[in-house]
């Protein structure tokens, strides 16, 4: 069932209608086959880009849609109900634009942002490394400024990078000083940069439409104006960007959970055992009721955080709560959906096993759910001064 949405404006209502129509007609027919084989859904991103769905939360001045997060995230959720990999891709792309949009100079924004928001480009977000995941501050990829200050040279390996090898640019974090988390800076690296190469795509459990691979920098040289924000500001930029990215993941996880719930409810009303539809058994119906409660609270959690953000209020804690609640909900709901389908749920003849595999990663990326608890508890302490 399409979620009931209270949209803040006429155009956002039309936007949701358009998103649903495009997802139903253009994306839905490809998903199953694509997720079986795996690859980069270039055509899907092109379609969404042409319709203006890849730049919704950014200023109209630079080609964005000028939409509040409350609206943008509900579009992500709608896409996720049909194709999780693509919804994650939309969220990751949004994440890659954030450092430039928020920390770039006016000159940098004018130079780079319109292309990034045009809908014809997609970004990669290079933060994690093979030995630096949750502990981002320990990264070793280094950026060295030329003696004459004319450019930067990057050296090191990033891991798990969505869109690696397919993106048009990489928002990259690298060490510019040996001062731990305070020695990290943020760069915008064009895809064609010499010295940039990519590893073999990881052989993942699911989300096969989101190929991830290592991004390798070997003496990769970029212009001086590719530094975003101040030297040493990288960690703060990365964390702020992730506050937003987490909301995207929360919205996507909610959409995924909604699809699992819908599939399970339909099945439970059709499947008959002991002479009646299995939904007539309270033991099963209550499972579905709990799934509905989980989806609804996931949606409420991310919308609450989004509305705080849109109102200019602090939302770091609420974004982490939303990520934690929504992705745990997605895991629970998709697992229970397989349960509702019984043996059929465990086969690839039905989509629920795929949903379950897709849900797992949402508890891991953009900060594991352990790290979300770390963020939340630290904010609790900070709030008491």
């Amino acid at each position: 069932m399409a979620a009931t949405r209270l949209m803040p404006s006429d155009e956002s209502r039309a936007l949701i209608d358009m998103t649903r129509e495009v997802c139903r007609k253009e994306l839905a027919p490809q998903v199953d086959a694509f997720e079986r084989v795996g690859g980069f859904p270039e055509q899907a991103f092109r379609t969404l880009g042409e319709l203006g769905l890849l730049s919704l939360p950014y200023p109209e001045e630079f080609g964005g849609g000028g939409q509040p997060y409350e609206v943008y995230l509900q579009v992500v959720e709608e896409i996720a109900t049909v194709w999780m990999s693509v919804a994650v891709g939309v969220s990751v792309h949004s994440l890659t634009c954030y450092p430039l949009a928020e920390y770039g100079t006016d000159e940098q924004r004018r130079a780079f942002l319109p292309d990034m928001l045009s809908g014809s480009q997609l970004g990669g977000y290079c933060l994690s490394e093979p030995d630096s995941g949750s502990d981002v501050g320990s990264m070793t990829t280094a950026a060295t400024l030329d003696a004459d200050g004319g450019g930067w040279t990057l050296e090191g390996t990033k891991a798990w990078i969505s869109h690696a090898g397919h993106a048009d640019y990489y928002t990259t974090f690298a060490r510019t000083a040996d001062t731990g988390p305070k020695g990290i800076s943020c760069f915008l690296v064009p895809a064609g940069t010499p010295g940039l190469s990519f590893g073999r795509p990881e052989d993942k459990m699911g989300l096969h439409g989101d190929p991830v691979a290592q991004v390798i920098f070997e003496n990769a040289r970029i212009d001086a104006d590719r530094l975003l924000g101040a030297q040493g500001q990288g960690m703060a930029i990365a964390l702020h960007a992730l506050d937003n990215g987490r909301l995207g993941i929360a919205a996507a996880a909610t959409g995924l959970a909604q699809s699992a719930l819908d599939a399970a409810t339909t099945y439970a009303m059709e499947r008959r055992q002991f002479g009646r539809p299995i939904i007539d058994f309270q033991g099963l119906a209550f499972l579905l009721a709990d799934m509905e409660a989980a989806v609804t609270s996931a949606r409420a959690a991310y919308l609450y955080a989004a509305r705080l953000k849109d109102a200019g209020r602090p939302y770091t804690k609420e974004a982490s709560v939303a990520k934690l609640v929504s992705t745990d909900a997605a895991m629970k709901v998709t697992t229970d959906a397989v349960q509702v389908f019984g043996g059929y749920g465990y086969t690839r003849d039905f989509p629920v096993e795929r949903y379950m595999r897709e849900a797992k990663v949402t508890q891991i990326f953009e900060g594991t759910n352990q790290i979300q608890r770390l963020v939340i508890s630290r904010q609790l302490i900070r709030e008491r001064g």
Partner: protein, 260 residues
């Protein structure tokens, strides 16, 4: 080239559709509606023609308040302006009366070079309004076009039949109804959605068109729906048990129904 596209707001074919019990007309109010999908092809064709040259695309609808959604969608796709003819007296109008209202509205917009319509609505499925409208406007009617080329003072259309295709030429101004084979309608982009908010929508009643209530509506209709009943629920299919003779049973099942 100025083009008027006639569009209709119809009940969503995916939704539960019903009739009004009091007068047997289609319930257009208590059901989710949308721009008739067959009309999207006409809107798309108009946009393509204007984009390849220049001109203004005006969309016209006759319908209740909700019908403005159909206009909105067409404006979001890229049409320049819209006209909504709305009047309680129009309720229950047949195809003849609808074509009369449309003709008056188009005359009031200003005679365009080209009038485009879908090949039929997805609700009434009569497909006669385009021809009636052409007659009233004194335009040549080219119906069921699956391909359309617009020249300086004529249009050339291809009409596909089962066994052959006709190529037809008509002088402009003309009316052309298009099929669902003619193009791939675009989705409104987000920019289109934003732009549509600022596009002009005129709302006219019968009086604005110089028409009186007794020329339209249920009482003026030449046809009336006298009764309706729900279609019987689909019967369960036949299950053939295979006891070594399943193939034969299937074949005779199909043969009995003259499928083979």
């Amino acid at each position: 080239m100025n083009i008027v596209v006639c569009v209709k707001y119809v009940p969503d074919t995916q939704a539960e559709r019903t009739f009004n019990a009091s007068d047997n007309t289609t319930d257009r109010v208590n059901v989710d509606g949308l721009l008739s999908e067959l009309d999207e092809y006409a809107v798309e064709e108009a946009l393509k023609i204007v984009e390849a040259g220049e001109g203004v695309v005006t969309v016209v609808t006759v319908g209740p308040a909700q019908a403005s959604d159909a206009l909105k969608k067409a404006l979001q796709m890229g049409a320049d302006k819209a006209v909504h003819v709305i009047d309680d007296a129009i309720h229950g109008s047949d195809a003849l009366a609808t074509s009369l209202v449309l003709a008056k509205a188009i005359e009031k917009v200003g005679m365009p070079d080209l009038v485009l319509t879908g090949m039929s609505s997805t609700d009434g499925i009569m497909g006669v309004v385009p021809t009636m409208l052409a007659e009233r406007l004194g335009l040549p009617a080219v119906t069921f076009a699956s391909d359309l080329t617009v020249g300086a003072d004529s249009v050339t259309a291809r009409r596909d039949g089962d066994a052959a295709s006709q190529t037809i030429e008509a002088a402009l101004p003309a009316l052309v109804s298009v099929t669902d084979q003619i193009n791939e309608p675009r989705y409104p982009s987000f920019k289109g959605i934003m732009a549509a908010k600022k596009k002009p929508v005129e709302t006219w009643g019968l009086a604005d068109l110089g028409l009186s209530a007794d020329e339209v509506g249920l009482d003026a209709a030449w046809t009336k729906v006298t009764a309706f009943e729900a279609r019987p629920p689909r019967q369960q299919g036949t299950i053939v048990k295979d006891e070594g003779d399943g193939g034969g049973k299937l074949a005779s099942f199909l043969a009995e129904r003259k499928f083979i």
